[in-house]
């Protein structure tokens, strides 16, 4: 038996684990779970766990609905907050009954894209800034109720939210998810927890765990945590800025001490790839109708496709790093929001960036001015294009994109587009309170 399997079996025995949750992710980025008992663990490692995938979004067509979840022993962790710590969890890879990888499994899609980058000599490392809100409850029938009116870096030590955030961090760290910084964001009730970089696959797993931990711990205290990109009009939405770097045989491939901002040719080409394909990949990094209400002028969210060192309105930022820390040279991609499926988002990002490297894209010039108030005609003069303004526009761009189709594979590409077209159709047919207020009095 593989030592990794043995390790998990021993841990389950020694720590008196009573339940093991096998986790996987549907195409829309929702966490799914099958629970097994310790007695079933052996066979789960050997043969996997069969289940009917037809009920899971983006998984199987009805005729071929049987899939197998195979737990990845390297991801075994106890869930310290659940059932007195007697529950463990592992992420799974999903395969078909014949043993081949299932093409609707987002984790598999990310692995495939990362393998392609590895074939070129690079491993993608990611560190996300996770933003979210704590609300009094999750009732969708009224405006979300804020817990406080704190602002950026506020030290309201006594409040429930800071207490919650502290407990959340200790649970995360116990689950191998080190936290870099955490603070109160600039909107009331909004919080940010920045995770320490790790390889892209582990980070996608960590984001799935993160969202669950934040939500469950909030519920434990009778609060509701939300990763909705723009829950309240007029205040900052929640983003998920991603710090990206590639590591190769000789360390950080983005670092070149001689280059401008320390960013190497590889880093510039990767960034150029992200910028050139930004419109095509946005449906994946910002997948909700609501995502596009965050990507508007006047807030700290990008609208224009540009890069700069110090410009909070740019899509890509090149953070200032210490000269003696070559490993920290990186770029920050600022449009994604925390409602995305991290496996698919990382897949399209690495595909776009690697395309820039393999095709040798030129990075356009840096745009230092604040683009927040840029008009369309000024943008035209600068040669800057905008991110898609709506889910519909983003889907049109995605549908035309060979890059996204290749990165996601036909199965997910097709399913995602159909599902999201239908989401847009529902939204389009809806008559909102805004419309009534605006039009009913005069028409």
């Amino acid at each position: 038996m593989e030592p990794q399997f043995d390790y998990v079996l021993k841990a389950v025995e020694e720590r008196q684990v009573r339940l093991i949750r096998l986790w996987f992710t549907d195409v829309l980025g929702q966490l799914k779970s099958v629970a097994i008992s310790p007695a079933e663990l052996d066979s789960a490692f050997e043969e996997g766990v069969h289940f009917d995938g037809s009920a899971i979004d983006g998984f199987s067509r009805v005729q071929e609905s049987d899939v197998i979840a195979k737990p990845d022993p390297s991801t075994f962790e106890l869930m310290p907050w659940a059932d007195g710590g007697s529950t463990g969890r592992m992420f799974c890879d999903i395969s078909n009954p014949d043993g081949t990888a299932f093409s609707g499994d987002p984790r598999h899609i990310l692995k495939r894209n990362l393998r392609e980058a590895e074939a070129n000599g690079y491993a993608l490392f990611v560190a996300p800034e996770m933003e979210f809100f704590y609300f009094a409850d999750g009732n969708p029938n009224h405006q979300p109720e804020l817990l406080d009116s704190g602002s950026f870096f506020d030290l309201t030590t006594s409040d429930v939210a800071s207490d919650l955030r502290r407990r959340t961090i200790s649970v995360l760290e116990a689950m191998s998810i080190p936290v870099e910084y955490s603070f109160h964001e600039d909107s009331p009730s909004q919080h940010e927890i920045d995770l320490r970089y790790t390889d892209a696959l582990t980070m996608a797993d960590q984001i799935m765990t993160f969202r669950l931990v934040v939500r469950e711990l909030a519920l434990e205290r009778d609060r509701y945590a939300s990763f909705m990109p723009k829950p309240i009009a007029g205040i900052q939405g929640s983003g998920m800025h991603l710090h990206l770097s590639l590591f190769g045989e000789h360390g950080n491939a983005f670092h070149d001490p001689e280059a401008e901002y320390g960013l190497s040719e590889v880093g510039r080409a990767f960034t150029a790839g992200l910028l050139r394909h930004a419109r095509e990949i946005t449906a994946v990094t910002n997948q909700l109708v609501n995502s596009y209400k965050r990507l508007v002028n006047g807030f700290e969210a990008p609208v224009w496709i540009s890069w700069a060192q110090q410009n909070r309105s740019a899509l890509v930022r090149v953070p200032v790093t210490r000269v003696d820390k070559p490993s920290s040279t990186r770029i920050e991609y600022r449009s994604p929001d925390p409602s995305c499926n991290p496996y698919l988002a990382f897949s399209v990002l690495v595909a776009a960036g690697m395309k820039g490297i393999t095709e040798g894209y030129e990075l356009p010039g840096e745009l230092k001015q604040n683009l927040n108030e840029l008009s369309a005609s000024e943008a035209g003069k600068l040669g800057v294009s905008a991110l898609p303004a709506s889910l519909a526009e983003a889907l049109d761009e995605m549908e035309r994109s060979e890059l996204v189709q290749e990165a996601l594979g036909d199965h997910i590409f097709e399913w995602f587009l159909r599902n999201k077209r239908s989401e847009w159709a529902d939204y389009k047919a809806h008559v909102s309170p805004w419309e009534l207020q605006r039009y009913l009095p005069s028409w």
Partner: protein, 237 residues
Amino acid sequence: MDKTNFAVFTGQPDAATNPAIVEVIRTLTMAGHHAIEVRDIQDLKALRPAAGWSGSVVPVGTTNEATTEAWGYCRDSRRIEDTIIPVLVLIGGSHVSELSDRNEQFDDFILSPFHPSEMQARISHLLWRSGQAPGPEIVELGPLLLNVETYQASLQNRPLDLTFMEYELLKFLAVSPGKVFSREILLNRVWGYEYFGGARTVDVHVRRLRAKFGEEHAHLIQTVRSVGYKLDQSRAI
């Protein structure tokens, strides 16, 4: 917490093999191993210690019946799920020809009567060859305790729940406290493969371990600038 449990095959004991078995058990016990008598393959399965068998010593008898039984046991012990390795066969000088064409059934042999120190030397060599070289079962470093047998770690009696690679990294550092290892060495020896961005992976795991240790004990793993990491109780860097 016996690390090395040996199954000593007795068959249906008769006057001829009995003294040899007693001698085998004494020799194993003197060398710090745990010797358990098994009459047949059913016994071997039923008496399996929690940590598994470290190997088996099989005196091959002199009668036809006893010989057949002993070789049958050897073959069966290779077939069961938790294969018994190594198998050391004890055989009389006049029966050496029986070894031919049975290479798959044993790992080494020793002539009967045997010299205890020869048997001990053969056993420790066989254990080393099968990757069971006895190492410390408990690694202790200040508040940190690692049980190599059960894969469990604790810090000031508080269990540490680690992933497999976190545990392996910590164990590697803990067996040589105070010694500085470069990221490349750690990657090579702990992960055991070439991997892009690998040195970065070592940093990631060190950070995770420190987070699990908590602030009070995070300093146990020390960063040695531009060299690597070491596990050390002292606070000085």
